[in-house]
């Protein structure tokens, strides 16, 4: 009998409905079977520990995500000295708040203003600042976004609901090396009364990629 790991499945139904509403419930898809056999084989050989796999999944499902990045942004909004450190050496400034590690080893922060709008992409794979934003969403990894963000950033932003006036300069950051980019969005107007925690709650994942603004 052939194990389900070895053969790249072909021709099966591939209606990947990755939208949030995604509710189909079927028998395990082929990749599910392949991954299950691969996992049990690697565990049986002692190459991986099943509990370590659980710990990795747990870390990315619960411990790492856009709330981390939002803390950095809110601090930069309320603390001018921190803001200065963030733009001078983002990796160190981010580590001050306890965030570091895999795919955030070398960070650069870029600032959105009334005159400049920054947008982050990885055209070659799907590089993303994991310690601050968690794992990338499906749309960020999609061929359409990777292809168009560099040639038509204004069209991409319009499609995602953000119109950038012609006089605003757009800077697209293509993550071609191990440098990861964090967009520091503009602080919304009329938020002077808000605490750092309240401000962090306003900051969205999309605003730190550069496909949205922060609303007050």
């Amino acid at each position: 009998m052939t194990s389900p790991i070895s053969s790249a499945e072909t021709g099966h139904d591939h209606d990947h409905d990755h939208d949030a509403g995604h509710s189909r419930q079927k028998l395990p898809s082929d990749p599910a079977l392949r991954v299950q056999s691969l996992e049990s084989l690697l565990v049986e050989k002692g190459l991986v520990d099943a509990a370590a796999l659980d710990a990795v999944v747990e870390a990315y499902e619960h411990r790492i995500g856009p709330r981390n990045g939002a803390r950095v942004i809110a601090r930069a909004w309320v603390d001018p000295a921190y803001r200065q450190r963030l733009f001078a050496d983002a990796t160190a400034a981010i580590a001050e708040l306890g965030f570091s590690g895999s795919q955030g080893e070398h960070m650069v922060a870029v600032e959105n203003t009334s005159r400049v709008h920054n947008l982050v992409v990885c055209t070659l794979c799907s590089c993303y600042p994991l310690p601050l934003l968690g794992l990338p969403p499906v749309w960020y990894k999609s061929p359409a976004y990777r292809a168009r963000a560099v040639i038509d950033p204004r069209g991409v932003l319009r499609e995602l609901g953000l119109e950038i006036p012609d006089e605003v300069e757009i800077r697209v950051w293509d993550s071609t090396a191990e440098i990861r980019y964090l967009v520091v969005p503009e602080r919304p107007a009329r938020t002077d009364h808000l605490s750092e925690d309240d401000l962090a709650a306003l900051v969205t994942r999309d605003s730190m990629i550069g496909v949205a603004k922060v609303a007050s």
């Binding site: 939208d19 050989k45 659980d54 710990a55 650069v108 499906v138 749309w139 292809a147």
Partner: protein, 219 residues
């Protein structure tokens, strides 16, 4: 390699499948293959660049058909075979080959968080005189290697300006092929949108890429 992964500038790939929120993993197996890559990668039989290159080797039609994590399954299986961590007959049978002894997992649960939080820095403490200075105009080389490169097609043979010297970093083009890290200077280079895309682009827009010294020459 001029592969399908080098997507920058393509225009016929349809709408962006945007969702405002979504689960971290859409199905359980996505989390398992992500974690398997991390835990098997801890043996250091390959490196990050080699794992990227392995996914780039998926044939174009398959690459576009597959979801992101399906490519990770293909890439991991290929690397396990290539590096000898798995034998073909084990993959075929789903069982360890008779006579092989069980090893002790390298990444135990207690080591997972420190491993993630430490990361794997790609800079190297090597003294190398930078060939270029911030503010200097440069031109990218016109290369089409069959191996791995992080110089996308859309940015080859284009004029840009050095905006930052990141320091000395592992060179993916050799590291991906197991030919050593050969670290060298990495620069952030700004390209005007019209230099890349012609008059259809907005004159004040620009694209920034991080490029190794070897990809650049004085104009």
């Amino acid at each position: 390699m001029n592969g399908i992964h080098d997507l920058g500038g393509m225009q016929d790939l349809g709408h962006i499948p945007y969702a405002r929120t979504e689960p971290v993993f859409h199905e359980r197996w996505e989390g398992r293959i992500f974690a398997l890559n991390r835990c098997a990668g801890a043996w250091r039989k390959w490196n990050l660049d080699a794992s990227r290159f392995q996914r780039e080797l998926i044939p174009p039609a398959e690459y576009l058909r597959m979801s992101y994590y399906e490519r990770w399954v293909e890439g991991l299986v290929a690397l396990l075979l290539k590096t000898g961590l798995l034998a073909r007959e084990e993959l075929a049978s789903g069982r360890p080959s008779p006579g092989t002894s069980k090893v002790e997992p390298l990444l135990t649960p207690d080591k997972v968080w420190p491993f993630i939080a430490r990361g794997t820095p790609a800079n190297r403490d090597v003294q190398a005189q930078p060939r270029f200075q911030v503010g200097q105009p440069v031109r990218t080389v016109n290369i089409h290697p069959e191996g791995h490169t992080r110089l996308p097609r859309y940015a080859r043979d284009k004029a840009g300006i050095i905006v930052r010297d990141h320091g000395v970093f592992v060179y993916p083009d050799t590291n991906a092929l197991f030919q050593g890290e050969q670290p060298r200077h990495l620069y952030c280079v700004r390209f005007g949108a019209q230099e890349l895309w012609g008059p259809q682009a907005n004159a004040q827009d620009s694209v920034y890429l991080d490029l190794w010294e070897t990809y650049l020459e004085a104009p």
